[in-house]
Symmetry: C2
Subunit: 361 residues, 2 copies
C-alpha cells in the first residue's frame, strides 16, 4: 500500500515545518521570475500535495520545475484567460504558465460557472504539469460542490492496449465529494498501476518496484528496478480498462482543448512549450439535494463501510480521502517528512539560486 510505505518512510525522514517548505518553494519560483503572488500561490498548491501525502507532487518537484523555467519551457509571467464558450463551459488559455496557476484559475472559474448553471466544464490548453490532481478536484469542496479533474500527462509511459510503444501518459483522474463530519471523499488516481511520480520516489529511495508495475516492451517481462523505468512501459489498472481510461482522459484533456496528449506528446526540450491540457468539472450539490442532507448521507455511507468487517490480512476498510486528512493533520502539526537525499538536492538548488537553504529555515 502506498500509504503504508509512505508512513514507513516518514519515520526515517526529516520533518520540515510547513511554513518553511512554502517559503522555500515560493522563493525558488520568485528567483525564476514568477511574480511574488504567483510564486506563493504555486508554493501553497505544491505544499498542499506534501501535506495530503501526494509526496511525488510536492517540494520534490521544485528542481524539475525550476529547470523548466530556466530552460524557457514555461512562461513565468503568463496572462491566463478564459473564453466563456457557452453558459456552462469555459476554455482557458494558460499562456504557457505554471500548470498550478492555470488549473487553480480554471477550478475557481468552474465554481463560479456552476453557481449559475449547476454544472461547469472548464478545459485548459497551453497549460503545464499541475502536480497532484486531487488538489484541484478538491477546490470546489469549499463551495459545497463536487469536483472532477483530469489531465493529459506531459510524457508517455504506457502503451495503448496490445501495443509496445509509449503513446499514453499515466493520465490521472481525481474526484472530490463533500462530506459532513467525516473526511471528504477524495479519489486521486493515475490510470497506471503506479504513477511515474511514485516510481521516481522509489528510485530516489533505492526501493524496488513490485511486479505488475512495469514491463519490458521487447519481451513483456516485468521490470522491478525503479531506476530502469525509462526502458519499460507502465501497466494500466485493469488491463484494457485502465488503458482505455488513459486514452479517454487524454482525448478529453488534449484534443478537445486543442492541447497535446497521448501519441502527440513530444519530449521536453529547451524553449519548447508543452501545451498541456487538463479539465475540471464542478457540480453544485444543492441542485440535486439540500447540501446538509447530502453530507449526512455521505457521512453515513462512509461510517457504515468503515465499520464493516476487514478482509483477513488487511488493516480494514479505508475510504479515499481518510488518509489525506490524517496526513494533513499530522503534517500541519509535525512538519512535512522529507527524505535526506531530497533535502540535499534542495540545498544544492538553493545554492544555485542563491537562496537560504530549506535545511536552515
Amino acid at each position: 500500500m502506498n500509504h503504508v510505505a509512505s508512513e514507513a518512510r516518514a519515520a526515517a525522514d526529516v520533518r520540515v515545518p510547513v511554513a518553511a517548505v512554502i517559503d522555500f518553494t515560493a522563493d525558488a519560483f520568485s528567483a525564476c521570475g514568477l511574480p511574488a503572488d504567483d510564486a506563493r500561490a504555486v508554493a501553497e498548491l505544491m505544499t498542499e500535495a506534501d501535506l495530503i501525502g501526494s509526496d511525488a507532487h510536492g517540494v520534490f518537484r521544485v528542481p524539475q520545475y525550476v529547470g523548466r523555467l530556466q530552460a524557457r519551457q514555461i512562461n513565468p509571467t503568463p496572462n491566463i484567460t478564459i473564453r466563456r464558450s457557452a453558459p456552462g463551459t469555459g476554455h482557458v488559455d494558460g499562456d504557457n504558465g505554471m500548470g498550478h496557476l492555470v488549473m487553480a484559475f480554471a477550478a475557481r472559474k468552474a465554481v463560479e460557472i456552476a453557481r449559475e448553471t449547476g454544472v461547469a466544464w472548464v478545459g485548459a490548453r497551453r497549460s503545464n504539469h499541475a502536480g497532484a490532481a486531487g488538489v484541484y478536484a478538491a477546490i470546489p469542496l469549499a463551495h459545497d460542490m463536487i469536483g472532477i479533474y483530469a489531465a493529459a500527462a506531459g510524457s508517455n509511459h504506457m502503451a495503448p492496449w496490445g501495443g509496445a510503444e509509449p503513446m499514453l501518459g499515466t493520465n490521472p483522474i481525481a474526484v472530490a465529494i463533500p462530506a459532513g463530519a467525516e473526511a471528504p471523499v477524495v479519489l486521486d488516481i493515475a490510470t497506471s498501476v503506479a504513477s511515474f511520480g511514485k516510481i521516481r520516489s522509489h528510485a530516489l529511495a533505492g526501493e524496488p518496484m513490485p511486479e505488475g508495475w512495469a514491463i519490458d516492451p521487447k519481451s513483456g517481462a516485468p521490470i522491478t528496478d525503479a531506476r530502469r523505468v525509462n526502458e519499460g512501459l507502465l501497466l494500466p489498472i485493469g488491463g484494457y480498462k485502465g488503458s482505455g481510461l488513459s486514452l479517454i482522459v487524454g482525448l478529453l484533456a488534449g484534443p478537445l482543448n486543442a492541447a497535446t496528449a497521448n501519441c502527440d506528446v513530444q519530449p521536453e526540450a529547451p524553449g519548447r512549450e508543452s501545451n498541456t491540457g487538463q479539465f475540471i468539472i464542478a457540480l453544485d450539490v444543492s441542485r440535486f439535494m439540500p447540501i446538509d442532507a447530502f453530507k449526512a448521507e455521505i457521512d453515513r455511507q462512509v461510517r457504515t463501510m468503515t465499520a464493516s468487517a476487514p478482509l483477513p490480512g488487511t488493516d480494514g476498510v479505508r475510504i479515499p480521502g481518510q488518509w489525506r486528512l490524517r496526513h494533513k493533520r499530522d503534517r500541519q502539526q509535525n512538519g512535512v517528512p522529507l527524505a535526506k537525499v531530497l533535502l540535499r538536492q534542495l540545498d544544492e538548488l538553493a545554492k544555485k539560486l542563491q537562496l537560504k537553504p530549506l535545511t536552515e529555515r
Copy 2:
C-alpha cells in the same frame, strides 16, 4: 480477452436475425404490461447491446427483467419526468420504470440541455437496471456530443478496499467520443476486473474464471468456479483505485440523486422498488472546437496508435470502440450469436408468456 472469448463462443452458437431478437424481446415486455412503444424501445436498446458485443446485457437479460416485472418490482407504465434544477442540470424521476426507458429519456434530455449550455449533467432516481452502459454514453454521439454515463449497480459484489463485506457494486462507467471515419471511441467498463454479467455468461457456458476475478472473503483465496461467484467478492481494477472508482460512481449516481447505492443496496424482493440511480453527462464538442476538426484529430490519434508496434504475444493495438463497430456490422448482417442453452431458456419463457418462440421466428 473478452472479445476473443466472445468470438470463439460465437462460432459455436446459433445466429439469430436481429429483427427476430427485437420482436421477441418487445413481445415479451408487451406481455408484461409495457405499452407497445415502450416495449419496442426497451427491445431496441437491449438488442443494441447484443449487436455491439455487450452480450451480458442483451436478450440474455429478458428472463430476469420479465421476472422483475411479474414480481411487481418494476412499474410497466411509468410516468418519467425531469425537474430542470438549474440551466445545466436535470433530475429525472423514473417512476420505477424500466431503466432503459429512464436512461434513454435522461440521455435525450442531456443532449437538449447541452445544446443550450454546452454541458449537461442529468441524474436519475427511481430508475432500474438499464443494461449496457455504453449504449447510453453513445446516445449523444449522433448529436456530435461526448457522452459520459455511470450507474450504481443494484446488487453488491465488491467490498470497499480492505473490507470483506459486499458493499459496492461493479458500478460501471462509459464514455463515448465522436470520431470521423474511424469508429467512435467508446469505453464501457465495470469497475471490477470482470462484470457480474460476464461471470454469469461464463457460468451459463460452463467456463471457469481466471484467477484475479474473485476471492473468498473468509480467506482472500481466489475463486475460479463461475457458479460459486455468489460466495465470493469480485476484485476491483487496480486494487484500491478501482474500489475507489466504484465508491465514487455509487455516491454520484446514488445519494446525489436520492437513489440507492453501495452499502444501502437491498436484495431483490417481490414488490420492492430498487430506486436505482444513474447519471449522464453530455458535452457539446463545438463549444471547444469545430466538430470536423475535432473528429479529424480523433481519427488521426486512433490511426497513429492502431498503426504502432504490437506487444509480443498480442494481436496488436485495440482502441475502445473498434470491436463494438466490428461486432455490430457482423451481427447486423449475420445475426446475433446466441448460446443454445440461452435459446432453450428463452423458448421456455416464450411458452410461459404464450409467445411465438425465438427459435421459430
